[in-house]
Subunit: 355 residues, 2 copies
Amino acid sequence: MPMLRQDPLTGEWVIIATERARRPETFASKKEERVSPPPRVENCPFCPGNEHLTPPEVLIYEKNGGETKEKDLPHSASWNLRVIPNKFPALERDPNAPRTMPSSRCELFLSHQGYGVHEVIIETPWHNRHLADLSIKELEMVLKSFQERTVALARDEQLRYVQIFRNHRQEAGASIEHPHCQLLALPYIPPLLNKEYTRSHDFYLEEGRCLLCSLLEKEEASGERVILQNENFIAYIPFAAPLPFSTWIAPREHYSSLEVSPEGWERDLAPLLKEFLTRLSQKLEDPPYNLYLHVAPLRSSSLSYYHWHMEIIPKLTIVAGWEMATGTYINVSRPEEAASFLKTPEKEVIEALKR
Amino acid sequence: MPMLRQDPLTGEWVIIATERARRPETFASKKEERVSPPPRVENCPFCPGNEHLTPPEVLIYEKNGGETKEKDLPHSASWNLRVIPNKFPALERDPNAPRTMPSSRCELFLSHQGYGVHEVIIETPWHNRHLADLSIKELEMVLKSFQERTVALARDEQLRYVQIFRNHRQEAGASIEHPHCQLLALPYIPPLLNKEYTRSHDFYLEEGRCLLCSLLEKEEASGERVILQNENFIAYIPFAAPLPFSTWIAPREHYSSLEVSPEGWERDLAPLLKEFLTRLSQKLEDPPYNLYLHVAPLRSSSLSYYHWHMEIIPKLTIVAGWEMATGTYINVSRPEEAASFLKTPEKEVIEALKR
């Protein structure tokens, strides 16, 4: 029998399509047609030696003793990570922009100057090393940069929310091959976040505790959808996952944003994230994916009702007419089956993690 | 300067990315790699002669004097259109299913037996004739079948909404090549519709009239986003279109659903829809698209605040991390420019419409 499951954070019903369910291994993408890129690409604007092709960085993690002599090779780049303004920004800061967003129920055509910040986080000098291939130390730097940029942008009171996201491979929307993620700082709260805040707040008023804390407790107790966990983080496939292998990674202790996360949070997350991405890559043949954070609004200090987390959505099916029309999903993979498939590491995963 | 525009029906902000805007003609898809399918495919379950491969039809439009003698050829099929139950339904009807959807703010894992109906509308016996290639008469039949099935399903009081949608070509999610659309009848109101109803209702209470009626009046007056219109329908690109070339087609008079649409509505819509789809196909090289209807809930009789319409979303860009994370869009094409590009028919369009 088909089944409907409600996403507790958004209130939306997901159809878990048992009749047309596919076995986890059938989602593996076809790898054979792909060409592995080289460590450095001559005309890639994000590769070392081409720093002049991008706007000056707003944040850089320099290498200790990094040399630029052999600057055409990633291992001799002077930096580990650079954050730069997007050359073709979706939003821009203009000191003359109006301070507040317009709002009116009766205005038919409401528009607003697109105030905001659009940045690119170049995760590594290596053109061919994606998140799963980075060392734990390098991955920590990527996570740290998310926090540093969020804290820096929070100083601008016109900005209300920072959305960090990553498109892995062209099929998931990456227009530049070099490993990077993006950050968009917005003058408003995006609707999906709004929904999560509202539902979490309602739950908090009724139950006196955080909705995601309660969910994590249940997930841990049953374990059937948990993929991985360590002392401080847990990776699991939610009960009402909208798409096959959609995974959430959340801190086990309650923190509402990176702004209020404790010193060293990235050291706890990095090894778990690396292991998750390595398993995903090995078991589903390096699928395209989207990764993003959901956090509290900027400057909201520590909210007791909202719990930040990361979502990773492999792109294994096509979002089509049904999803566009209704804003909901038909998941052709049972969350419990998908989690169990990713739970057991294979020999290659263990080998890859040793490297 | 980038610009934010608010969708009046959902209240959501769309970023119109002027800095990274693309010229309309750059969206044309690459046609050369495609192989045109034959008029009939031996093992296609939707082709004439293979009717036994599908469940028995729930609606059939028979051909006047149609013969089944040469049943392997589409022109001699005995039918023009068949509606059949989906062999792998996302939802099913079970007389023992609970009558109402569960609802609870504090229940963490809420699920429900997936009650509903999933049907396929086989639009034509021809394997290689898509909506734009059908005659006006045939297109009328497709539209009429939407209405007939909606009216029939409305008799089941457990169903609340009928979602009709079409995925054109594999890239837009069509898993079977033979021209068809799908219908899912649901025991709940999908969230996007919910949002449209709520905003329209708020507007109605405040202004005393229908939001879409007001919008259509403004669109007609300015004309800058109107692509086509006839006496009873209008096709235009909305002010805050979420994706390049997203088009709405709406009746100019106020009707809230197909259930309450007047006799002959499909005769007014068919020629306009054919012309729109022909232009889209000619000017953007037959792009993949999703098409769907937004209507009032079943059995809601004539709602003065909601106005049904069709949305056509060509799949020209990749929905990526930003859209998944926020539930909003960055449109890399200005609606006015896209509308103007589709406004003038080219010689081939005029020729195609004569055929």
